[in-house]
């Protein structure tokens, strides 16, 4: 079952959090560094969407 009763105090572990956040940034660096400008623009244009609802 979903962990609705997780201990919320886990968010106070700042050291663990810091290392987690560093990991996020490394992945983001990799993604950005692999992107050429022109490919990035193609990718954005490919994502042209119209309104829904």
């Amino acid at each position: 079952m979903p962990r609705a009763n997780v201990d919320v105090s886990e968010s106070s572990d700042l050291d663990a959090m810091r290392s987690k956040l560093d990991g996020i940034l490394e992945e983001a660096d990799r993604a950005l560094d692999q992107m050429r400008e022109v490919d990035a623009e193609e990718y954005i244009q490919q994502n042209r969407q119209s309104s829904g609802e």
Binding site: R3, A4, S11, M17, V38, E41, Q49, G52
Partner: protein, 544 residues
């Protein structure tokens, strides 16, 4: 349903609670042949619907040939302008809702892989709330639904609005923003599309508090007592399960109290709710104060804390479902953590995950948010004035292949960039990469999923096993009945499904699912005989 006072002094008989979410996704397509022609969403969507019919257990949607219901009780159909829409089944808690939201992502992600393989195209699914090129021009979003036991939904508007405004500190998806008043980033993609305080319209004058009572649930209103399906449209669809959980959980608590005749937030009414939402959205530091009717100036976090205090007190007097206690604790902790440092929640809330990534990359490139804000305004101006090929050529700094007309545009556009100052061209090129990174964060299978797989994004309240279960299994209640019927009659002709029934006209079989709180399903057949429908033991064995 009648209330009574139990031995613990609390008013008994918890009113049943259901919530659900509709999410429109964006699909993209590009041919693998030649230069890779872009295939518009309207042409890609049928591939997805076909892939769903060949890979999932489904039953035909009674309302549209472009829709199906799934064995997990969800509905998947083709919305206008090529958006696949995934509607979760009716969920009994915000945790369940978050699991089924991500189940929708997983289902669409798997369909994307199938479409790419079968049709030899490059395709992707994005969960965004606005278009990426000119955000103001397109919104395709997430809608929330809640069952509320009241016959006067409109009177809830004023006390709900301060919550709907201030909750964007966790209910937003975050985004790059060129808007005046923002410094390049804002909390909510959807905020700019909210135009009025209350309305029943969901497409032109999008309201902060939507008074539309959905027709599908009018059956309930007329037949099963004074409940309605409250339908809200002001929050963003998100990738982080914890953010979705908080959005539905906190709002669900207000709904739960309203269902028991308790209205919180009366003392928090805002002078100008729509303007307050825009203001709060533009401040990722969460320090901006907005004006209340009583003359006070409060931050979004202070408004949220006031709701927490009121809710805590009110909940002491009534019986509540099991999900409320943990949700209250998460709400309190989340607001306290946001007050300390919002970026500490970058591993669980979309806004701060995106903000942290973008801030880091801007700093790494040697720019400032202010410079990126200026670049965004320039890029928007260019996109409005020139066609896509010109912008592409500008970014590549190469006009080869442009038509004669576009070459004129290219020269003009380059002139505008040069006039903006020496670093403008470099900032513009960096911004395009940054924007693509933002798109990638919203793409199913993109950066967020890589981070989640690596344990860097914390779902907090869910495991992958919970999500996989939600892909295949419905929640308890009416959704379970629907899901079981979909599974039983998959691939059998003549069966159609709706939220309120499952039927086969040629076999004269009809299952009445009108009451969403039902624990039994009524089958009417040609001879009007009652039969017994076996459902899994953990749900019901019911007389029909």
């Amino acid at each position: 349903m009648t209330d009574s006072c139990g031995s613990n002094g609390k008013v008994g008989h918890v009113k049943p609670f259901l919530c659900g979410q509709e999410t429109e996704y964006g699909v993209t397509g590009r041919s693998k042949r030649g230069a890779g022609r872009v295939i518009p969403p309207e042409s890609v969507l049928p591939y997805y619907l076909r892939a769903a019919r060949t890979s999932l257990h489904w039953m035909q949607d009674a309302r549209t040939s472009d829709g199906i219901y799934l064995q997990n009780g969800a509905r998947l159909y083709g919305e206008i302008n090529g958006h696949p829409e995934y509607c979760t089944p009716e969920c009994t808690s915000p945790v369940e809702l978050a699991a089924h939201d991500l189940a929708g992502e997983w289902i669409l992600g798997r369909l994307a892989q199938r479409v790419a393989h079968q049709h030899r195209i490059r395709t992707a699914v994005v969960k965004s709330n606005t278009g990426f090129l000119i955000p103001r021009n397109a919104t395709y979003a997430m809608h929330e639904s809640y069952s509320v036991w009241t016959d006067d939904i409109e009177s809830a508007a004023e006390p709900f609005m301060p919550h709907l405004v201030s909750r964007i500190v966790y209910a937003g998806a975050g985004c790059l923003s060129e808007r005046e008043g923002c410094d390049g980033f804002e909390l909510s993609q959807r905020a700019r599309h909210i135009k009025t305080t209350t309305s029943s319209d969901t497409t032109s004058s999008r309201p902060l508090f939507c008074t539309r009572i959905r027709k599908h649930s009018d059956f309930g209103y007329s037949n099963h007592g004074a409940w309605v399906r409250m339908h809200q449209i002001s929050a963003d669809g998100k990738r982080c399960a914890f953010a979705t959980y908080c959005t539905f959980g906190t709002t669900g608590i207000l709904v739960h109290l309203l269902s028991h005749g308790i209205v919180v937030g009366k003392g928090l009414m805002l002078k100008n709710p729509v303007s307050a939402m825009q203001t709060i959205s533009c401040d990722p530091m969460l320090r901006t104060k907005v004006g209340l009717v009583d003359g006070r100036q409060l931050t979004a976090l202070e408004i949220q804390q006031s709701y927490i205090d009121e809710c805590e007190s009110a909940l002491r007097g009534i019986e509540s479902p099991d999900w409320i206690g943990p949700m209250m604790r998460h709400w309190q902790t989340t607001i306290a953590d946001l007050a300390r440092d919002p970026l500490h929640l970058a591993d669980r809330l979309d806004i701060y995950l995106l903000q942290m990534i973008l801030s880091h990359e801007i700093q790494r490139a040697g720019y400032t948010w202010s410079a990126i804000h200026g670049a965004q305004r320039l890029l928007l101006r260019l996109r409005r004035a020139f066609p896509d090929p010109v912008i592409r050529a500008l970014v590549a700094d190469d006009d080869a292949g442009l038509s004669v007309e576009d070459r004129v545009g290219f020269t003009e556009a380059r002139g505008l960039v040069q006039a903006a100052g020496r670093p403008a061209a470099d900032q513009l090129r960096f911004l395009v990469r940054l924007k693509a990174l933002e798109v990638n964060v919203r793409e199913i299978g993109g950066l967020v999923d890589q981070l989640r797989a690596a344990g860097k994004v914390d779902s907090v309240i869910l495991t992958d096993a919970d999500i996989e279960r939600a892909v295949n299994e419905p929640p308890a209640g009416r959704a379970a009945l629907r899901g079981q019927l979909v599974k039983d009659h998959h691939n059998q002709s003549g069966w159609i499904c709706d939220w309120s029934f499952v039927g086969n006209s040629s076999a004269s079989s009809w299952y009445d699912l009108v009451n969403p709180f039902a624990t039994k399903v009524v089958k009417e057949d040609r001879a009007s005989e009652s039969v017994l429908l076996d459902l899994p033991e953990r749900r019901w064995r019911v007389r029909i």
